[in-house]
Symmetry: C2
Subunit: 319 residues, 2 copies
């Protein structure tokens, strides 16, 4: 494990933002035991950003700010729209330079990543991903999104993962609900997000009784997603957060379905004997995202080469 | 890009093995233009390994050997069975210490990874993955397997990816073939591997006429897999090799299905405008695996800390 300079860390105060479609959760602090938060509603970019900037300006000695944002966003340092929210359905926010606007207004380094990558980074640092170089963080709420660490680094690649949109088997006889994704209809998000639960059963997930058969279906769909990600990413742990996962009774159902789907093929004790610690809720609860954004702030503070406008970092040892 | 000492590279001769279920392809050389190969049939471990050792002993100055192996295999350096083939259905090979046996017999460092991770490393070094830190290599043949680079490093995690075993939608009315995977029945491998094509249509893939509707179905299934991996790994390229992919007419079909499935959601020019260079065959053809094993040999030669019995390497910067 890399040994960060703890003394400097204690002196550095960071800002963090979990930028969501309905609200921006903003924080200032140094970690889970020292984080002062406020919430700004997501209205127009100018109005929201102004309130966010006011909050951070009230703290005089911030070293950097991190943003975990709704998307899609541009994460390519060499791109002219690096730091932008790009093709979101929220029209006011389309092609808005969120990271750059804050960087200019606050004149400090700004770390920028997806909301779920940020949450994964938060769980890696202070939560259920501590010491685990390969794990998945999934949020199941208004949408379904995933962030993953592979060899200790979050996945970016071409764009960034959009895990909720994988296709899974959908038995229309057992579940006639056609799915609600405007792009893919019955992808995982289309079948198992909060709005899908509500559209199928007529009540929001938090009002569906724990013994309702809808939860078995929900567990089945989520387990189908987890099984695909196990086969693809080989994670050492899967952390499931978000509004729908607040129903704690879902966890044992999902674990049971998952073991059935894998059918012993992934022959690893962590799975076969340790499923209760393999599929888990986030230790940081609903603060995973905003605390993860704090990790992004720290990371950008310590890695000047990753900042907006900085020269590109080196590549891999494989070539 | 890391600058390897080329002069030393030219003086170092490496051995490589693509260890498959029917044959071990063994090579000695320095790269694609300088590789002398031989083939040893996969019989019993003692017999096969003896012939492999004889081949390498005939070259006096090997610096290291790399193995890309069929699996499942143990890739955890801290595990007592590191370097073993583990729970393979081939009984003679179960729990066989392939890497350790060769290391002892040849007394040189041995690099060890899955056959598809090796092929990915080969394409990263000399093939269609050059300069691309995030890409997928898929083989479609007797089985379906994937290796991927994420941030320039191959995925290992809990075990190693078993990508062929992801679940995909299967319309039993359109395709009554129930699937042939002994573990999961109609996972991707169960529906789209070479043996599945043969079981469904009664002839091997290479005898199925190019205008047979079976190819549309095959392209659909493979595109469903690719779509899931795009949403999960966000690769910048997907390289499809293996026996079934020798049918070049499959590529345009797969590209067409894939764009339809994604439906514009992944808004990246590399995909939307460059699909012909996004889904491609391996540039190293059927030598991707054995040349990739050569990269593993080089890698272990230059990274003593990754060798069998070496102390563990450090962890990520995220915590």
């Amino acid at each position: 494990m890399q040994d960060f300079p703890v003394a400097r860390n204690r002196l550095s105060l960071f800002g963090c933002i979990e930028a969501g479609g309905t609200k921006f959760v903003c924080g200032v602090g140094t970690g889970p035991d020292d984080l002062r938060c406020t919430t700004v509603p997501t209205t127009s970019p100018s109005d929201t950003v102004q309130k966010v900037v006011e909050f951070f300006r009230a703290t005089s000695n911030l070293s950097a700010v991190g943003i975990g944002s709704f998307g899609p966003i541009d994460l390519h340092p060499e791109s002219p729209s690096f730091g932008y929210i790009t093709s979101t359905p929220k029209r006011d926010w389309q092609n808005f330079d969120l990271a750059g606007t804050l960087q200019k207004a606050l004149d400090i380094p700004v770390g920028f990543d997806t909301d779920v990558n940020a949450a994964a980074a938060g769980e890696a640092r202070w939560g259920a991903g501590r010491g685990i170089p390969d794990f998945l963080y999934l949020t199941v709420g208004t949408g379904i999104g995933g962030g993953a660490l592979v060899n200790g680094e979050v996945i970016h690649g071409l764009l960034h993962p959009e895990m909720g949109h994988i296709r899974i088997p959908h038995d229309l006889e057992a579940d006639p609900y056609p799915g609600g994704c405007p792009f893919h209809q019955d992808c995982l998000e289309g079948l198992a997000s909060g709005p899908a639960v509500k559209a199928r059963w007529g009540v929001p997930a938090n009002e569906l009784p724990p013994d309702h058969p809808g939860w078995d279906l929900e567990a089945r769909y989520l387990a189908l997603g987890l099984a695909s990600w196990i086969c693809t990413l080989s994670p050492e742990r899967m952390i499931l957060g978000g509004g729908v996962m607040q129903q704690a009774h879902l966890f044992p159902k999902i674990r049971h379905e998952l073991l059935g789907l894998l059918n012993g093929y992934i022959n690893a004790p962590a799975l076969l004997e340790g499923i209760d610690t393999y599929v888990v809720p986030p230790e940081l609860g609903n603060r995973a995202g905003v605390l993860g954004a704090l990790v992004l702030a720290e990371h950008i503070y310590r890695n000047p080469s990753a900042r907006i406008g900085a020269p590109l970092a080196g590549e891999s040892a494989w070539r």
